[in-house]
């Protein structure tokens, strides 16, 4: 047979294979659209669930950081040497990251900027806020050690010695750990379900083409070339699904999240722009890899 020069056969072959992929895809456009719709719905749901979970996780992490700021309230009669001695004593305890002194004036200033304390700060005559030692804890459960070490110290306010009790600290620590575990579990489940549905859809799609793949195999088509249209179809499904999921995420992040923030003051999810960007990229990469891997796992006829 006449053969083409080595320099030109490869581009010609690439054109032939791509033309074949295009013909396969065009012929199955209706089935592809139906599958793309299903994949888009699954990815959109999973991405939206992921967005709320990530924002809730951020919110919880923020609360965990606040909870790690444990305040030891000082009595108004405490002398500076007593305060310094207490500060040194607390700083040496296990689980304490840092200790800083906050004067009454600083406490009042902070309270004026805190929405939950500003009312108290403006209506109460004088300065009702005590000076304190702000203790940064490695974990809220470490508060019990600080509490037991300073309970009898003369510089502490014996009526309200701490911002929260050690028991509350322990409960908060347990709650945060449980909440984080639930969030991670739900996120993993959502991702798993999305992947599973995608894989099932793709497998049924490939099963429908089994007769065609058999013929291609029988006429000696190289197996990578037989797989290529399947791979291209899988990647195109993942791309289409990811684009739809990103559009849904942008809408949810721009409209629904501010709505939740406005309606539920106790659940402040914050801004969603960064999370939308991260989840969109993760959805794109994850779906391309999952569906692409599925297309490679399908067994071709002998």
């Amino acid at each position: 047979m006449r053969v083409v020069p080595t320099s030109t056969w490869l581009p010609q072959y690439a054109v032939s294979v791509l033309a074949y992929c295009w013909r396969c895809w065009r012929r199955r456009l209706t089935a592809w659209l139906a599958t793309a719709l299903a994949v888009s719905a699954v990815l959109s749901l999973a991405a939206t669930a992921e967005l709320f979970l990530v924002l809730a996780q951020h919110s919880l992490a923020q609360q965990a950081r606040s909870a790690s700021e444990f305040q030891v309230f000082l009595t108004d009669e405490a002398q500076q040497p007593q305060v310094d001695a207490l500060r040194t004593k607390v700083g040496d305890l296990h689980g304490v990251k840092s200790v800083t002194y906050r004067s009454k004036a600083e406490a009042l200033s902070l309270a004026r900027h805190d929405p939950t304390l500003s009312n108290l700060a403006s209506t109460t005559p004088g300065n009702p806020f005590p000076a304190s030692l702000v203790v940064q804890l490695a974990d809220p459960s470490a508060a019990s050690q600080v509490a037991s070490a300073i309970s009898q110290d003369p510089a502490t306010d014996h009526d309200v010695p701490f911002s929260y009790t050690p028991a509350q600290g322990k409960r908060l620590s347990t709650f945060l750990s449980t909440a984080q575990a639930i969030i991670v579990g739900v996120a993993a489940a959502a991702l798993g379900v999305a992947s599973l549905v995608g894989l099932v859809l793709l497998r049924s799609e490939i099963r429908a083409r089994r007769a065609e793949l058999t013929v291609l195999s029988l006429v000696g088509t190289p197996r990578p070339v037989i797989r290529l249209p399947v791979l291209v179809e899988a990647v195109s499904l993942a791309l289409a699904g990811s684009i739809v999921a990103t559009l849904v995420l942008i809408y949810v992040g721009g409209h629904l999240v501010p709505l939740v923030n406005g309606s539920l003051p106790f659940l402040q999810l914050g801004g969603a722009a960064d999370a939308v960007r991260t989840i969109s990229l993760a959805t794109l990469a994850g779906s391309v890899m999952a569906l692409g891997a599925c297309s490679l796992l399908v067994r071709l006829p002998r």
């Binding site: 006449r2 074949y20 065609e212 006429v219």
Partner: protein, 260 residues
Amino acid sequence: MGTAASVFSTLVHAVGGFPDDGKRRPEAVAVRPGSVSLQDVTVGYARTPVFEKLDLSIEPGEFVYLVGPSGVGKTTLLKVLFGMVRPQSGKIFVDGVAVHGMHRWQTAKIRRRVGCVFQNYELLQHLTAYQNVLLPLQLGHPRVNDPGGYAVDALELVGLKHKLNELPENLSGGEQQRVAVARAIAHQPRILLADEPTGNVDSDTSARILELFAELNDVGSTVIMATHDEFVLSRYSARAYWLDPKKQDQEPAHAQGVAS
């Protein structure tokens, strides 16, 4: 119709020689391009054997009929040679390639070198006759220059040049058979396997297909054809390999020649 000789004028078979000592070792025969060799081959589906300890040797350029009644295993034997069915034991060499140990991802290699006409045509229903012949050339033989020209030539040889753009559903069973034949010969294979290629065609077309195979054989191709058609056997003289177990008992060597 054009003549096969004109189309296949460029066909060159690199037939291997024998060892320097002149002795014909079975292995040396087996690996010669264009040859087919089965050594102690046992094939079966589940626990039902189809053949046991089958030996068959076909020289490059031979024309061989696989003959026997329906269900005797002619199609299975062709499937074994084409890498579609793996033998339970034994060795199979086709065109110098060991087929018996091939993994599924290696079978394309032998299928590109061997042409096969399937009993149920195996055409892609969404492609035209021309595209059905062209596609294997484009995807399996990337270095072939002007694959479209070869596809048209092959369809012309089987008398279907006027139906290039017809879908298989618009072709009769005989015409679909001829498209399958065109696809099998378009890449000028060194070995052609045909499973009842005249099973669904009238006697004129049957004669034409047989003539085409004979022309291919004349230019050096090995042709192995499964048939139970008396007309075919009487039309063209070739060695016949009987797969009927009773007849194999009577002719225990490598079958008998059938003269026209």
